[in-house]
């Protein structure tokens, strides 16, 4: 994290508040506080704030605010971040059917790391992953915290179409493709959940600063959940993060 936060020009309608130049939970926690501060303060002229790994992009309307005025307001907010009550992060459970047609590359991942498919599933489902940011396509989460024991390089040639809901591994990262898209990740499973549904009141399920946890399910459960999704009767499982507070923003 920088000693002094940088306020950078990103054209005449946006500015970047840059907190550091690395991917760390400490920086991410600060970004989260700043996002909450801006949302609750309703800063004049701010159109929206976009949190990323190490910065917060503020899109603003120059007809409603002046750059220096905006910068001063944001700096004051930044100085008072300690007074911001962060809501407890939630963990969202992602039921996932591993292997087979749903995760055609899981054997590559097992072979690459000299372990069984069951071990890959056990390791992948034992972590809670921090959502650092969303980007690339609607609802695509950039996650942290994967166990390097199951790290596997990307496919040599990317697939032209990956079905929405696919769960994959690329290097030391894991993630979920919310909608059909091309991509080069090793696919290990698929979730029946709709991470993105424009007809829903809140179209995107995931939010930066929250966590996700994968839960292994069988094909019968997959079909049941898929049907419940289609009927609009599925209830997403969310719970507060265990031990939150012990390691909040310090590691």
């Amino acid at each position: 994290m920088y000693e002094k936060t940088k306020y950078l020009l990103a054209g005449d309608k946006a500015l970047d508040i840059e907190f550091g130049n690395s991917i760390s939970e400490e920086i991410n926690s600060k970004i989260r506080s700043m996002t909450v501060a801006i949302e609750t303060q309703n800063v004049l002229g701010v159109i929206e704030a976009v949190p990323t790994y190490r910065s917060l992009m503020i899109h603003y309307d120059p007809l409603k605010t002046d750059f220096n005025k905006l910068k001063d307001t944001l700096k004051t907010l930044e100085e008072n971040l300690d007074n911001i009550d962060l809501p407890e992060p939630e963990v969202i459970e992602i039921p996932t059917l591993y292997g087979g047609d749903y995760g055609p590359d899981i054997e590559n991942v097992a072979k690459h790391n000299n372990m069984s498919v069951d071990e890959v599933i056990k390791i992948h489902t034992s972590e809670e992953y921090l959502i650092y940011m969303l980007g690339f396509t609607p609802g695509f989460p950039y996650l942290g915290g994967m166990d390097t024991k199951i790290a596997t390089p990307r496919l040599q040639s990317p697939r032209t179409k990956i079905p929405g809901g696919s769960v994959g591994i690329a290097g030391e990262q894991t993630g979920i493709y919310p909608i059909d898209s091309p991509g080069g990740w090793q696919l290990i499973g698929r979730t029946p959940l709709d991470l993105f549904d424009p007809k829903r009141e809140i179209p995107i399920l995931l939010k930066a600063g929250n966590y996700i946890a994968f839960k292994s399910i069988n094909e019968t459960e997959y079909i049941e959940i898929k049907n419940a999704m289609n009927n609009g009767t599925y209830e997403y499982k969310k719970y507060p993060r265990k031990n939150w507070g012990d390691d909040n923003g310090t590691n």
């Binding site: 020009l9 990103a10 929206e48 976009v50 949190p51 992009m57 899109h59 950039y142 909608i179």
Partner: protein, 346 residues
């Protein structure tokens, strides 16, 4: 409510408005029209709110059959519009009748035209906008570009078409015939990732638009821009007009359908008032970047806003009214007597 039928969609015709805001933190692109100045002008000419949904037409115009009487206006690139074979004016509001067919003879200048309809295009508002986000298959008409056979509904105009008909403006925000486009740039947020030589290269050379240009971004070719060290950064936000420079050293201008975040260094941002010039550039056109200041950029945004107010005022005086009969009254208010004239119009 009016209706139009797409006989032939042209190269790429989509429904757009001024964009979808509030969802960039979830990875949803803003989208919206590429050339905001032309789009606002088209809507103003037909009496709409300037952010109303309209058609954005790229390179090759569509063929459209009108199913009812509708008021339209076409702005932006001149693709030589004709109705039933007769040439019509650009930048002018025109009434079309059931059975009339609009087509285009071919692109004369620019790259994108805008067709506005009095009352707007009646498509569902998805996440606050009528814009089509093609990669996300979201918004607009069924989340996609228009196809032959599509029928679109047109909303209820704000007032009688006859009161709005024939409004015309000669206002040109810039000359679309120019093959060399000067773009003013505010440097940052990663201008410090480039060598002094790299910055000078960027600001003193001519670049050209490659065929790799679309609603997402414009890839340019020309003198390689030198980085100090790495071309990749840990992903951060991308605003409209951001100029990314990947390790190859060629600039890419990010446009309406840009992704919300990205991992290439950004040397600067095209200022808002020059973004329409990018939207109207096409493969082969030359681009020169010129350094600008935030103060200049903001002053130009205000200047354009004032220009639109001026245009609206001038158009409001162009009302063509056919007076059927006039009646005169004496009206007494607080002891004063006023002569009042009432025109009954068609």
């Amino acid at each position: 409510m009016g209706q139009i039928k797409i006989i032939n969609p042209g190269f790429l015709t989509t429904v757009q408005d001024l964009g979808r805001y509030g969802y960039q933190q979830y990875g949803v692109s803003v989208s919206g029209v590429m050339d905001q100045l032309s789009a606002k002008l088209a809507n103003i000419l037909v009496g709409n709110n300037e952010g109303e949904g309209l058609l954005e037409v790229t390179m090759m115009g569509p063929q459209i059959e009108f199913k009812s009487s509708i008021l339209i206006a076409i702005t932006g690139a001149n693709m030589q519009p004709v109705i039933n074979g007769n040439t019509i004016n650009m930048n002018k509001s025109i009434i079309v009748n059931p059975g009339d067919k609009l087509s285009f003879k071919g692109l004369k200048n620019g790259c994108r035209s805008y067709i506005a309809f009095a009352g707007g295009i009646d498509v569902p508002i998805v996440m606050g906008s009528k814009s089509t986000f093609l990669r996300g298959k979201l918004g607009g008409f069924e989340g996609r570009a228009l196809k032959a056979g599509d029928t679109l509904n047109i909303g209820q105009p704000s007032t009688s078409l006859y009161l709005l008909e024939g409004k015309e403006t000669n206002e040109n925000f810039y000359d679309m015939n120019n093959k060399t486009v000067e773009l003013r740039v505010v440097l940052g947020p990663q201008d410090d990732a480039f060598t002094q030589k790299g910055l000078e290269t960027f600001l003193s050379n001519e670049y050209h638009v490659t065929p790799n240009c679309d609603r997402m971004g414009y890839t340019l070719d020309g003198e390689k821009i030198e980085h100090k060290d790495k071309a990749d950064i840990i992903s951060d936000g991308i605003s409209m007009g951001a100029i990314q420079v990947p390790s190859k050293g060629n600039p890419i201008i990010m446009m309406a359908d840009r992704q919300t975040t990205g991992g290439y260094t950004k040397i600067g941002n095209v200022i808002t008032s020059d973004l329409s010039k990018v939207a109207q550039a096409k493969p082969g056109d030359k681009i020169i970047f010129k350094k600008s200041s935030l103060q200049e950029a903001h002053a130009l945004i205000k200047e354009i806003e004032n220009k639109f107010e001026q245009i609206k005022f001038e158009l409001s005086k162009q009302v063509k009214i056919e007076v059927l009969r006039t009646k005169k009254f004496n009206v007494r208010v607080n002891g004063n007597i006023y002569d009042v004239k009432v025109d009954e119009i068609k």
